[in-house]
């Protein structure tokens, strides 16, 4: 790399929309269609590791601040890439609509994303197309629903106190 640090936004050109927030962390918004292409490009240009992948459910905040060219959707897949040679982090945010929550898998680019994609599928119900083993990882196999979605209630265990007075 010879010490030349090109910003990731320049690398991917018009395939993604850069949005570096006030916190100084580099963020790219990628459309679902160009997701794989952009990630493969980034991997080849020095981002060797997929450090983290998770999903976010923006059910209560569909109208959140995003760059004007990005149309907000309910789900978001957030991928944190890490470049060991450049000591740089980069975050990709992919909008995933509720009606068709499918994104291509990163498994063939970063095999290390396997467990994280299974976790996102398990807890949010976002499917990763082409994933070799898209099964539940944390919840039991026969579980219904995806517990980290915002419309999945926390649930309570009713507590009955001894000699509790009846309804008043």
């Amino acid at each position: 790399m010879a010490g030349v640090v090109t910003s990731a936004a320049e690398l991917v050109g018009d395939r993604a929309i850069g949005d570096s927030g006030p916190l100084g962390q580099e963020v790219l918004h990628v459309a679902r269609e160009q997701y794989l292409e952009v990630v493969a490009l980034l991997r080849d240009s020095g981002f060797e590791m997929c450090a983290d992948l998770c999903a976010v459910d923006y059910l209560d905040h569909i109208e959140r601040p995003l760059p004007p060219a990005v149309s907000p959707e309910r789900f978001e897949i957030v991928v944190n890439l890490l470049s060991l040679q450049r000591h740089q982090r980069l975050r990709l945010r992919v909008q995933v609509p509720e009606s068709n929550p499918v994104v291509p898998t990163l498994f063939h680019i970063y095999p290390g994303s396997e467990n994280m994609e299974r976790e996102a599928f398990d807890l949010y119900g976002v499917r990763f197309e082409g994933h070799p083993d898209l099964t539940r990882i944390l919840m039991p196999d026969d579980w219904e629903g995806h517990p980290l979605r915002k419309d999945y209630s926390v649930g309570r265990v009713p507590v009955q106190f001894k000699e509790a007075p009846g309804p008043r």
């Binding site: 006030p22 060797e48 976010v56 944190n80 000591h87 095999p111 944390l138």
Partner: protein, 442 residues
């Protein structure tokens, strides 16, 4: 109803396995290619499936979830041919308690009590990464003393975690004396934690805005006693294990991972460093004040179980070096930011000031609001990159709190590590990955 009728109504036909050559490739993929995938993380290729063994020559057994060497409730499906492990798959989730969901119900003040229970061998690192994420969103500065106290405590925590790993690893490799010694040394560090934070584990000591309390009187002596004792003890363990022929035979050349594969599988921490990649967030992307202390990043050459042992052993020594520098350089001043909205006022102020009482009450009931935004922060925990992705919506609770647990990701390296080894080596390899199930399942 007669027996025949009952059978006719309930039978699902012959329950026999189909011959391998009658099975379609798609079914084969489900049966043998996906559930127990080839370890190289390659795409399934029917040509590639273990041709040397017929379907009836291999055996699939479950190791765990209550096996003593799985360090908790981890189940590993192993495909065996004789005593040789072919493919394997770690199965987790037995300890899943929905802590990320819980984190969305708790205020930012309460959040640290939640995350500290994830990786129960290094609770202070969990609190640290969560606090750093909250502080990044809040945009507040931390007084230097708080930063150095955090460094001191997390490095002591790294010592206790690695010593604990030496203990359990010794147990797995039948060195019971190592186990007793490890627990003894860990207790030294934990009693200092108890003196400082009030608890041996799950401290809730590092909080957004600083730390919960200042170091106790005479802390220098306690810390110096620890770091004067531990290096000598580490030399003893070095002598006891490193050159010992039985230990070397059990670990050398067992479970080798190449640096390329380790990076591709997102492995971090001692696994990555043992394979020869000099990557340590403390040095390469410094947080806190790690750029002001002097320490070495320990790197292995082969990437086997023995290297992972050696990396951890020497990291204990390096942590002692850092702790010593923390004691020498510890600045004076506040141990938490004096931001009335974020940190509670000093106890004495509550008796004399109505505002202080109100702020105190507000912080512990309603908490504080964090401006909307999203942030990813990572620190180097004893097991690797511990990350926290936090989405705030401007309220007093995180909208989304995601913890990237290093053990969760590192467990993916088990299939390539176990492949081709003996089942007895599996014990040594699982131990060398150092999974903490509380963090894997969260």
């Amino acid at each position: 109803m007669s027996d025949e009728e009952l059978i006719a109504e309930t039978s699902e036909g012959l329950q026999e396995l189909q011959d391998l050559d009658e099975t379609s490739p798609e079914e084969l993929e489900i049966e043998r290619g996906s559930a127990l995938r080839l370890p190289e993380g390659l795409v399934f290729d029917p040509e590639d499936i273990d041709v040397e063994f017929g379907a009836d020559e291999t055996m699939i057994i479950n190791m765990g979830p209550q096996h003593p060497s799985t360090h908790g409730v981890l189940r590993i499906m192993l495909e065996l041919e004789g005593e040789t492990v072919l493919r394997s798959k770690p199965i987790m989730g037995y300890l899943h308690t929905g802590m990320e969901k819980t984190g969305e119900q708790l205020t930012y003040v309460q959040g640290a009590t939640n995350v500290t229970r994830m990786d129960y061998l290094s609770p202070l690192h969990n609190e640290l990464v969560y606090s750093l994420a909250v502080e990044a969103l809040l945009g507040i500065d931390i007084p230097p003393r708080a930063t150095w106290i955090r460094m001191l405590m997390t490095e002591l925590n790294r010592i206790s975690s690695h010593v604990m790993w030496m203990a359990t690893n010794g147990m797995d490799l039948a060195s019971t004396s190592m186990m007793i010694y490890g627990f003894r040394d860990r207790e030294m560090v934990l009693s200092f934690f108890e003196k400082t934070t009030g608890l041996r584990m799950n401290h809730d000591y590092i909080r957004p805005g600083g730390v919960a309390a200042d170091l106790p009187d005479g802390w220098e002596d306690d810390v110096m006693a620890i770091i004067d004792t531990i290096p000598g003890r580490v030399d003893e363990y070095d002598e006891m294990l490193t050159g010992q022929p039985i230990f070397k035979q059990r670990t050398e050349g067992v479970g080798i991972i190449s640096p390329e594969l380790a990076v591709a599988m997102s492995a971090t921490g001692p696994i990555l460093r043992a394979s020869g990649v000099a990557w340590d967030l403390r040095r390469d992307m410094p947080y806190l004040a790690y750029d002001e202390v002097d320490f070495d990043v320990i790197v292995g050459t082969v990437g086997d179980t023995y290297d992972r042992y050696a990396v951890r052993l020497n990291e204990i020594r390096e942590s002692c070096k850092i702790v010593r520098q923390c004691v020498e350089k510890m600045p004076l001043g506040d141990y938490r930011a004096q931001d009335k909205k974020v940190t509670p006022p000093p106890r004495a102020r509550i008796d004399e000031s109505m505002e202080a009482l109100i702020h105190h009450f507000k912080i512990f009931t309603r908490g504080f609001e964090v401006p909307a935004g999203e942030v990813y922060v990572a620190v180097e925990s004893p097991r690797g990159e511990l990350g926290c992705y936090l989405v705030a919506d401007g309220s007093n609770k995180p909208y989304r709190m995601h913890i990237r647990g290093p053990s969760f990701v590192n467990l993916q390296t088990l299939p390539p590590l176990l492949r081709g080894g003996l089942i007895a080596d599996a014990i040594a390899v699982i131990s060398s990955v150092d999974p903490v199930m509380g963090e894997v399942d969260r």
